[in-house]
């Protein structure tokens, strides 16, 4: 079986450097039934552990509703949005104004 990959672009923001919105690209091996959160976990654990997304207390199972973001432009939960193999995936924070860091939004 040929290993399918996903090409992922993550919109990154570091408030401590006031650089809003750098696009960073990663290549992640695809597994059947992966979510956008699984993709982020892979990046964090294998490629670049400086990436920030709300997971210090996430549930991973669609219950806490804290893993919100934009997946290919559409708002949703990272942990319950399936992704396709072989394609492009763009992950962004829900909005541009209240970004805490990368994909984590400030509290309302």
């Amino acid at each position: 079986m040929v290993q399918k990959n996903i090409t992922v672009t993550v919109l990154r923001t570091d408030p401590e450097k006031s650089d809003a919105g750098t696009k960073q690209r990663y290549t992640v091996p695809f597994t059947e039934g992966m979510s956008a959160m699984d993709v982020l976990d892979y990046i964090y654990q294998h490629l670049d552990s400086s990436v920030a997304y709300y997971d210090h207390a996430g549930c991973g199972l669609g219950i806490c509703a804290r893993c919100t973001g934009r997946i290919n432009g559409k708002a949703g939960l990272f942990c319950q949005t399936p992704v396709d193999g072989g394609g492009e995936l763009v992950l962004e924070p829900t909005g541009k104004d209240r970004v805490q860091r990368d994909l984590v939004m400030k509290k309302k």
Binding site: S35, D48, S49, A52, D55, H56, A57, L61, A65, R101
Partner: protein
């Protein structure tokens, strides 16, 4: 960095059911209460993940206007909790559960809990429903609530609790709490294992901090794995949905060769071990056995399919538990198609509940004055195996811990915490931010998590435990002080939190693995391949772990048995399990 102090009478660590219940009760007593939650308020920890059953004797349910078996009694529930716990229970805590569950349920009903349905001795509601009610009540009684703040360390002055150091996860700023009493309600340490049942916040911080502060912990070798948890696909990994469906409907469990997992086991085990909540210990044991015999699937699990269960029946049950095959934001519709076609999914045991924890007395006080514990973080009522409800446990314990901690805080003026102690704890916490060229926290964590799942799973052996202890000791000695982060800022720095949590995870795994190695028998959720008997002559005792001046000491404490006398002798594990299943009272239901 500026020193921010935060003053309160009772500080509650944990925003799950036990923490909220404690906070509400303490506030009722007229003291100032601050509840600090690492995760989102009422949406973190295990509590919102629960199904959830609140379990008590049917007669009390009836008196509260719910369905429930009127022939059931407190004595029968007591009997069942103790036999299900393989007689390792602290019977005083069992008594507290049995005696106070009714008034606890009455409180919930008064506060507006939504009850889906009930059976002989349980009401079914939802974890999120319970948490919403508690959150509303806590706000109404004036509890101060902080979320996304992690307590890192407890502060003592002259041997007494004086406060705690917190970290605002979002900004990376420290918060110095001054408090007259602290309640630990920070739940279990699921994050020490992979796979697990979800929550990413449960790294045992409260148990580890209490242990560092001098509190005894115990029965750390008893870890309940839930059976039939999704292993694949990744998007559902950790979900208990197949466990719930199999508990209600049954179904077929098979290995990689397609052979039935249960054939050959005693019919009583097959019946009670699948269709009652004994399933967690029995099926987790059977699934792990299959994996150890090389009969596991790709991800280490087994197959679960509908088998000869009628599709109409399963569809009806599914429709009640997961309306339209959806549960919150999870969409199980493709699984429903597989069930209908009798196609399997991969499931397996995953860590779900910690039977051991911080040792508490009758007032939920720990061995450190001013420090209390409740809920899953405490060494609770269930002994070696939990069948009854942890949701009931967290609430009855939370309420009492809240009351007694408030009394303590009112009666004694809080000592002043030491500035230096705060500063030292802050410096220690900051070490990974300035360490360069060290090891990567998420990689170290993942490696440990996978090893913990294998070595501290439902089946253990001396050789494997010793190898695991060696690995952990090496990490403790050589790796923990050498963790570095690639992003050195403080704003939502996941690597930094991973590094801080790792210290707790490694400590608790070590204590657990050593306790498991010491216990040379099989009981409840602890099965020793090399000691496959339940030894009621030598091992009717709890494993207690204390922190001495420079070393950790393991000792044993005879079980607290004011009411039911345990059996004697040595019995093969599954035979003992069958005897205990048959010792169940005549009340039906899943508990």
């Amino acid at each position: 960095m500026a020193e921010t102090y935060h003053d309160t009478d009772v500080l509650v660590m944990g925003g799950g059911g036990a923490g909220f219940r404690a906070a509400i009760e303490a506030a009722h007593s007229g003291v100032h209460v601050t509840l600090v939650s690492k995760g989102p308020l009422a949406r973190s920890g295990a509590s919102p993940m629960a199904g959830a059953d609140f379990t008590l004797d049917g007669t009390s349910m009836n008196e509260l206007g719910r369905e429930g078996d009127v022939n059931d009694s407190k004595e029968k529930v007591f009997n069942d909790i103790v036999t299900q716990g393989w007689y390792l229970n602290n019977q005083k805590l069992v008594g507290q559960y049995v005696d106070t569950a009714k008034s606890q349920l009455a409180d919930l009903m008064e506060w507006g809990i939504d009850i889906t349905l009930s059976d002989q001795r349980a009401i079914f509601t939802s974890g999120t429903g319970i948490m919403d009610v508690l959150l509303k009540k806590a706000r109404a009684v004036g509890v101060e609530l902080l979320e996304d703040v992690s307590i890192l360390e407890l502060m003592k002055t002259d041997g007494r609790i004086a406060g705690a150091l917190g970290l605002d996860v979002r900004t990376g700023e420290f918060i110095r709490f001054r408090a007259g009493a602290v309640v630990i309600a920070s739940g279990g340490w699921h994050k020490a294992f992979w796979p697990n049942t979800g929550m990413r916040d449960l790294s045992g911080d409260g148990i580890a901090a209490a242990f560092r502060a001098g509190a005894d912990i115990g029965n750390m070798e008893f870890i309940t794995f839930c059976c039939n948890v999704f292993y694949a696909p990744p998007i559902w990994r950790g979900s208990l949905a197949p466990y719930i469906l199999s508990l209600v409907c049954g179904g077929r469990m098979s290995d990689r060769n397609g052979d039935d997992l249960l054939s050959g086991f005693d019919p009583v085990l097959q019946q009670k071990g699948v269709l009652t909540e004994w399933n967690k210990s029995f099926l987790s044991y059977v699934s792990t056995l299959a994996a150890r015999e090389g009969r596991a699937l790709e991800n280490g699990g087994i197959h679960y399919s509908r088998g000869d269960v009628d599709w109409g029946f399963m569809q009806m049950v599914g429709g009640v538990i997961f309306p339209n095959w959806k549960y919150k934001a999870i969409d199980f519709s493709t699984w429903a198609e597989k069930l209908e076609k009798n196609e399997p999914v991969e499931v397996g045991p995953a860590v779900e509940y910690f039977d051991g924890g911080i040792v508490v007395g009758d007032r939920f006080e720990t061995t450190v004055p001013g420090l209390y514990a409740a809920g899953e973080a405490a060494l609770g009522a269930f002994g070696a195996n939990r069948v009854f409800s942890a949701v009931t446990e967290m609430l009855v314990q939370g309420r009492d811990a809240g009351r007694f901690s408030a009394e303590f805080a009112k009666a004694k003026k809080a000592p002043e915490p030491k500035r230096d102690a705060f500063r030292e704890a802050e410096e220690r916490a900051c070490a990974p931010l300035s360490c360069t060229g060290g090891e990567n926290p998420p990689a170290v964590r993942r490696n440990i998590q996978e090893a913990a799942h294998r070595r501290l799973g439902p089946i253990r052996s001396e050789g494997e435990l010793t190898a695991f202890i060696g690995m952990l000791e090496d990490v403790q000695k050589n790796v923990l002080s050498n963790l570095s982060v690639s992003y050195t800022g403080r704003t939502y720095n996941k690597e930094w939190f991973d590094a801080l949590e790792l210290r707790n995870i490694v400590e608790l795994l070590l204590v657990s693995a050593k306790s498991a190695r010491l216990r040379t028998e099989s009981r409840g959720v602890h099965f020793r391949e090399d000691f496959p008997h339940t030894d009621n002559d030598a091992w009717l005792c709890e494993t207690i772990v204390s922190r001495g001046e420079d070393a950790i000491a393991f000792s044993s404490r005879p079980v607290t048995v004011p009411h039911m006398t345990p059996p004697r002798g040595k019995t093969p594990y599954l035979e003992m399990m069958k005897t205990l299943m048959e010792a169940h009272s005549d009340t039906g239901g899943k508990h």
